[in-house]
Structure formats: C-alpha cells, structure tokens
C-alpha cells in the first residue's frame, strides 16, 4: 500500500508503521522525504482507524543520519526558504498528531533523525544507537524543533551539552539522561516497540488521544491552566463514553 519514494507506510491492527526508507543514504532526510512525510502525517492525523504510530528506519546502519547535505545551499534566498518552511510546516504537523507515536531507534540518530525521534512521544533505542546534533560543526543550528524539543525532554543542561559540543551518546547514556524510555538489545528493538504499540492500541483510542493532548498542551501552560484543561478533557471523554457504551 506504499506509494512513497522515501517512506514505507503500513497499517495493521490499528497500528501505523512508518519506515524511513533511504538505507543507501543512511535514511538521510531530504526534500522528497519532507513531502512524503507531510502526506503520511496528514493521512494519519485524520484516520480514526489508526490508534498508535511506530516510526523506524530501514537498513542496519541508521534510523536517520541527519539531513541530506547535498541539497543544502540550493535555496534561492533566506526569505524564500523561510516562506517555504511555513508553507508546509511538517514539524508543526508532526507535533500536532493526536495519536501516540513510538520511535524505534537504531544506529545513527543524528540531526534531523534525533529531531524526528523527539517529535515522537515514546522513544525506544537499541544499545548500538548513536545520538547527536552536529549542526554547530556546520555553522548552523537545528531547524526541525530540536532546540525546543530536546531541552523539554532532557533538561537545559544536558541539551546544551549535546547541542554545543556535538559529542554523540549511545543507547545506555541516552537512557540515563532520559532521552529514551527504554534501551534494549539490537535484535529485540522492533519486537519491543511492536509489543508496546499493541498494548497501547488495546485501549480506547479516544482516551489515548485525549491523554496525549492533556500532557502535551498541559506542559505548555501554567499548572492552574493545566489542571483546568485536564478537568475539561476528562469531562469531555466521559460524555463521549456515555454516548458510546463499550462494545
């Protein structure tokens, strides 16, 4: 059912699987992938049959080794590039997906790769995974949300260490600093992610979306507003549940 050049999209038992599929280029993120990703994420967002999403990388070497630098320095001007960035806001779309998203991470998880992982809700890494943000070495900064999502995940201090030094960390260290939820041996990665996806998919899909929304939006506001939001969402959910009794 996949018709995309850079991604494989599959759906089974309410779980959507998105596989980054440029293994010869270490799954580097390019313009084509941006367009494919935009289409797939838009479809997932509106698909009531998808309860949970799993992101993974094809091939043995990488989840995604970063942006494809061969396409850099081709933008007509900073003004035009900025306009294009917001015309198709793929990262805003990614962060607005209502269903829970799990990332299964192996090999190189660098630059755009770690930023994709940070747009997901739960991260599982294999021991061989290597995480890093090499942007400053190239005289630039991350642009897929990494400067915002990383500190919100591991705290300012660890985030700045990774962003400013360009030193890479492995799966165990990523687990220690809270970048990933679980670290597993390389051969167990997909089983582990799939098992967790199935566990999540066994719950009420509306409750899942609302729980995610309460956490994501709640983190962005003050506690009093977060508590108000939580109460409102819980009320909304119980109303829906009364209308649609469990089958």
């Amino acid at each position: 059912m996949s018709a995309f050049e850079t991604l494989i999209y599959e759906k089974k038992d309410h779980i959507a699987y998105v596989t980054i599929n440029r293994p010869k280029a270490m799954n580097a993120y390019n313009i084509q992938m941006r367009d494919d990703l935009y289409q797939i994420l838009s479809a997932i967002k509106d698909d009531p049959d998808v309860y949970v999403v799993v992101f993974k990388g094809a091939g043995e070497k990488a989840f995604c080794a970063g942006a494809d630098l061969s396409e850099f320095l081709t933008a007509p001007s900073p003004v035009a590039a900025r306009k294009i960035r917001w015309q198709r806001d793929v990262w805003g779309l990614f962060l607005s997906i209502p269903q829970p998203i799990i990332a299964a991470l192996h090999g190189y998880v660098l630059g755009s790769g770690i930023e994709i992982a940070l747009c997901c809700d739960i991260r599982i890494a294999s021991k061989n995974a290597k995480f890093g943000l090499p942007e400053v070495a190239l005289g630039m900064i991350p642009a897929a949300g990494g400067t915002q999502t990383l500190p919100r995940t591991v705290g300012k201090s660890k985030a700045l260490e990774m962003l400013l030094t360009d030193e890479w960390i492995d799966g165990d260290e990523a687990f220690r600093i809270g970048l990933v939820n679980h670290v597993v041996s390389d051969d167990k990665l997909y089983d582990y992610a799939t098992t967790m996806a199935k566990k999540i998919a066994s719950h009420n899909p509306v409750a899942l979306k609302i729980a995610k929304q309460a956490v994501v939006r709640g983190m962005d506001v003050r506690l009093t507003e977060g508590l108000y939001l939580e109460k409102g969402l819980a009320t909304h959910l119980s109303t829906i549940n009364k209308q649609q009794p469990k089958t």
Binding site: V136, G139, M140, I141, G145, T147, Q148, K158, L164
Partner: protein, 255 residues
C-alpha cells in the same frame, strides 16, 4: 584591571576564570561580584573568545560564609551589585563550570548560572542559607528548581543539607563526574573542541535554548526557525556546509 579574587588566562579561544579562595572561605563576595562583572564585560565584546570555563577549587568546607545578609537592603528592581550569577548569565557564549570540592551557597548559585557543569567525584553541593534564617538570593532557588525539579530543590533548600557528587549527577545538577586530576584537562579539551564550531551557531544555540524554555513550544519553534534562517545569511554556514561536502575542516570567521 588587576584581579585579586580571581585570575584569568586565555588558551587560544577559551578563557579560563579561576576563583581564588583562602583555604577555608570563599573570597570576599563583593569583590568577586565586582571582578566577575569586570571580566565578563571584557569577554562579551571580544570576538576571539568562543568559550568560557569558570573553575572553582575549594578543598576545605568554608567556615566563614557570608550568606548575604547585606542583600537585605537591595532595591528589588535593580541588578544586584553583589551577584556573581548575573554577569555570567549575560554572556552569549557557552560557559562551562568546573567544580572541585565544595560548591556551597553563592558558589553553587554561580554554577547554576553556567550552561554545563562538571565536578570531581569528591565534590559537595548545597544551599545552606536556611541555617542562617536566609534564602538563596543569587538565582539559586529559580535555577535549581528548574534544573533538578521541584521536589529535589525543595529538599535541598528547606533542609540546607549538602549532597555529594553521585547524588548531584543522579538529579541532573551536574552533567558529568570526572576524576579530580582529569577535571580541568578534560573540560579544556571539550572547550577547545567546542571552540572549533561555528561561533555564531554556538551563540544562537544557547540563545534559542534559553529563550525557548521561557516560551510556549510553538513560540520556541518560531524563534528557532527565525534564527536558523538568519544564519542562512552568514558566511560561516556556507563555509560549514562546503567544508563538509569537500571533506575538509571548516574555517569559521564568526560572521
């Protein structure tokens, strides 16, 4: 200016500031504040300095600590002239803190105002102000609770008890524990490596992380994109990408 409470020297593009002590106590806080203000004022406009290291080497627990009773007369609207953290927190470039020994009171508050913290295994950390009927006043309460979470911060501030290196690492107060003999050399190595990166990119990264945490996620993402596209106009970005494509080392100019 001749410095007495601290000494500083440059190694290539890295500035090291060493805080002096008198064995059992930190140097006169007012003098440290004055001199830190002075040195940060010279670092800020200097395009040759890419990274700052602040080193605290305090082998004995301070017995005579001025926990800042004098601040009581402060005007809450103005910058605190006794602050160590304020001048350091205003630097745009990365600041790494090296802690060997006791980082208590204002010394810890200074460390919390830095971007990255490394400590030797035998280090001790604490905000003992409550023992003197005081509260931390150099940003310690705000920065500590944001760094290690409300619960851990409350415990340290309300009990005034100290914690050791292992606990500080576990809570995320420090980034790494390093053997004391290796501490400064390792930090210098990291700083030198950092100083090879794009200077504007380093400053923008620090800015967007710090400001971004005060914004909603959406606002933070906008700021990131704006600074990213502003960097498109820098010669450093072009150089960085070309160097990568040509598999050579980048030569950044900081513009």
């Amino acid at each position: 200016m001749r410095y007495e409470s601290l000494s500083c020297h440059r190694e290539e593009r890295v500035m090291i500031i060493k805080l002096h002590n008198n064995g059992t106590c930190y140097a006169d806080p007012a003098q440290v504040a004055n001199e830190l203000n002075e040195i940060c004022g010279t670092i800020y406009p200097d395009p040759e300095i890419q990274v700052v290291i602040i080193s605290l080497d305090q082998a004995e627990p301070p017995t005579d600590m001025d926990l800042g009773q004098t601040v009581l007369s402060l005007d809450p609207g103005s910058d605190n002239p006794l602050s160590w953290a304020v001048p350091v927190s205003k630097l745009e470039i990365p600041v790494i803190m090296s802690i060997n020994g006791y980082a208590l009171g204002q010394a810890l508050e200074l460390a919390l105002a830095c971007d990255i913290r490394f400590a030797s295994f035998a280090s001790t950390f604490g905000l003992p102000h409550i023992h003197n009927d005081m509260i931390p006043w150099d940003g310690g309460i705000q920065r500590l609770s944001r760094l290690i979470g409300k619960s851990n911060a409350m415990e340290m501030i309300l009990t005034g008890q100290t914690i050791n290196g292992e606990e500080a690492l576990r809570m995320g107060m420090i980034n790494q524990l390093i053997d004391d003999k290796e501490l400064l050399p390792k930090i210098m190595k990291m700083a030198q490596k950092m100083a090879q990166k794009g200077p504007v990119a380093l400053k923008y990264t620090k800015e967007v992380v710090q400001k971004g945490l005060e914004l909603t996620l959406d606002q933070g993402l906008s700021l990131e994109a704006d600074l990213y596209f502003l960097l498109h106009t820098s010669s450093d970005r072009t150089e960085g990408i070309k160097a990568f494509q040509e598999k050579r080392k980048a030569r950044f100019k900081g513009q």
